[in-house]
Each structure stands twice: as C-alpha cells, then as structure tokens.
Symmetry: C2
Subunit: 105 residues, 2 copies
C-alpha cells in the first residue's frame, strides 16, 4: 500500500454516497444540474433568472451541489460562474443520464 493511499471503510463509503445522492434528491437541484449542463458556465444572477428562484434560495442549493463536488465554481470579477463537474457526475450516474445531467457524447 502506498503511503498516500486513503483507505475508506464501508461506513465512510456509504456516507459519501449518501451525501452525493442527497444532493441530487431535489427537483430544484436537478433543474440546476440540467441548466448548467445545457449552458456550460452560468453565473448565479443569470441562473436566478433562468430558474426563477430568489438569489438566497439558489445559493443554498448551489452550495449543496458544490459541497459534494457535483458542480464547480469559478470567480471572475464580481461574478461566480458555476458549471457541472463532468468527471464526478460520470463516476456516479449511468450513461442514460448523460445529456440530461452531464455533458453528452
């Protein structure tokens, strides 16, 4: 075993997946994933218009997706741009969900 290898026990593994699935277990957050996937990089204020959600509510849901790394954030000036973390979603979801929630073939 290499010195840097991290060994997770079963409970930690389940806890990790629990959080990721929990992040996806909400209509609003699935819609966010969908719109980010459709549009690439989107800032909070644009997304707020697209999904028609108050800013604080949207930030709350974005944080949940960000915490489990299903999305990424890039700050440019005053704006925060969000996008889908393709690698992470690909490791979690089936090919059938490609195009819906992560970038397609």
């Amino acid at each position: 075993m290499s010195a840097t290898q991290i060994v997770l026990n079963q409970d930690q593994t389940f806890k990790t997946y629990e959080k990721k699935f929990k992040a996806l277990s909400d209509e609003i957050r699935l819609k966010v994933m969908y719109e980010l996937n459709q549009r690439g990089q989107v800032c909070v204020c644009d997304l707020s218009d697209i999904i028609e959600l108050p800013q604080s509510k949207l930030s709350y849901h974005l944080k949940i997706l960000l915490d489990v790394e299903l999305i990424k954030r890039e700050k440019i000036g005053t704006w925060n741009y969000y996008s889908v973390n393709e690698k992470a979603v690909k490791l979690l979801l089936s090919e059938e969900l490609r195009c819906l929630f992560y970038p397609g073939k």
Copy 2:
C-alpha cells in the same frame, strides 16, 4: 406517436429522478442495497439481523426503495424476500457503482 407512448414533461422527469435519488440518499438504504446485492434474495427478518435494525425501521426503508422500484419483493409463505432490481439500478447508476449496489459483470 404510438397510442401507448407516455410523454413526460421535464418537471415530471425531474420529479421521478428526485424520488429515485432520495431513495438512495440514506446510509441505511445504501447498506440495504449493498447487502441485497451481496446476498441475492433476503427476507426481512434475516436482513434485520444482518443490518441490526428493528423490524419496523427496516420495513420503512424497504418500502422507500420498493416504491421507486430499485428493489423487488417476492412473497413466499410467511416470508417476504427482497432483492435488487438490477435493470432499474443499471439505468440510474454508473458502472463504477456496479458490484457495490447492483450485480457485477
């Protein structure tokens, strides 16, 4: 369009996935999926011993997984045997999660 085709709108689609991911967004239910996958068909009382959970609690969680058809139930005499619904899980989860939550190659 064929007479029997069901057309789902986007909201219905998201709602459907919300429910499926919600079913998976719990440590106990992921452990249930894992054990059912390891053991094939298991009855509630055996599962109750394996996962060390009171019967009513386990039944509650089994119902949630059953409702979204991620698991199947077969009644034999007094016993209810549960197993993973391989097809449904395969349509939802990545190959990387095969062996953990649905039957392997």
